[in-house]
Symmetry: C2
Subunit: 191 residues, 2 copies
DNA sequence: GGTTGAGAGTAGACCGGTCGGTCTATTGGA
DNA sequence: TCCAATAGACCGACCGGTCTACTCTCAACC
């Protein structure tokens, strides 16, 4: 037993937060879905907000794992690694039923009123863009991108446009917007 | 008096929905903010959900007004009109304190659980993309865009990427992501 | 090795507050 | 006179969170 009640809560929480968002994620609903008494939830987490922040942490662990697996793959040229990261992510979205990105969802919902979440999500996007920028910069130095390519800003742009495409994916429950966005970006950036 | 109670509710509702999202928009808070008794609200609107749908309708009226004012301006070449539409929109975001786009916000928050809103928001994006596609197509026929330019799909792409940049704008409370996105898109599209 | 005490974890009744929504009474202009 | 509109008390349901009671596990001790 021990810690696997906590893990069960986190696993179910990730799914529910992605689908329902923060305000529509009821603690009671989570407990019912996981057959957990309330006492256990508040034993592991001080509040619903702390729980959600930990869910974002979990989500980011997975994102970084994806970045490790793709950007770190030296058998591929750097641009192809970046592209592979997003294609891997797209595959993950498909498995989840095309509900888009949790960071985008929570960010949209809460950043208008909650400073803690606003700063947290912004920091997550920054971390992702930073790592992608590193790989783009490698591509630039190899001559795969124009010499005046602004890696860091173009990484932000890529992440932002991806999030927009992910929102559309959530609305349409299909991946075409993601694919179209990647095609356009890489054609334009290398062109 | 007459209908201006209703208008007051809609005006305040637009602001609150943009900032708080749907689930965190309390009917009571709206009534307090506008000094309106509950009886009046439910006299004009059958439910909170119907109210929010009417808010989206109002939002779209403004969007279409913006499209009319820009895409319909024959004194500018078609591509410049499209760009002006987004720059006008960016100006609107600025006035609101960079809270992004209401369609993106509500779409993200509700499309995972509420089919009515999901379909509604998707239809809104389609309507916008459709009108932009018309203008892009005009540009293509004039030779301002490549002959094989897929106007309709490129309009969707533009709208999607814009929404992503708008989310980032909301997170950072500044417009740089919007500007960067427009610069990239128009530079890349015109080749 | 059996007894016992401490603390992690489980269990769920219960709390005040707020939610969206209803109801009845009243007002005021046409 | 009539009815749109205002006014707000009131409703049951549910919200996140607290509290107490209980059940284990396991280590300390004679």
């Amino acid at each position: 037993m021990a810690q696997d009640t906590k893990q069960r809560l986190l696993d179910a929480g990730l799914e529910m937060l992605l689908r329902h968002g923060y305000n529509d994620l009821g603690v009671q609903a989570l407990l019912t879905a996981t057959n957990t008494p309330k006492g256990s939830f508040y034993h592991y987490f001080p509040s619903k907000e702390a729980f959600a922040l930990e869910l974002i942490e979990c989500y980011m662990v997975e994102v970084h794992r994806g970045l490790d697996a793709t950007l770190g793959d030296r058998s591929l040229p750097p641009l192809a690694r970046v592209r592979r990261f997003f294609e891997l992510t797209q595959e993950k979205y498909r498995e989840e039923g095309y509900l888009g990105c949790m960071l985008g969802g929570v960010g949209q919902e809460l950043s208008g009123v909650n400073e803690v979440f606003r700063a947290k999500i912004e920091q997550c996007f920054n971390a992702i863009a930073e790592r992608i920028a590193g790989c783009l910069e490698e591509a630039r130095q190899r001559g795969d991108l124009p010499a005046d390519f602004a890696s860091r800003r173009m990484a932000d742009l890529l992440v932002n446009c991806w999030e927009g495409a992910a929102l559309r994916t959530r609305l349409r429950r299909d991946p075409t917007s993601l694919q179209a966005m990647l095609d356009f970006y890489f054609a334009a950036a290398t062109g």
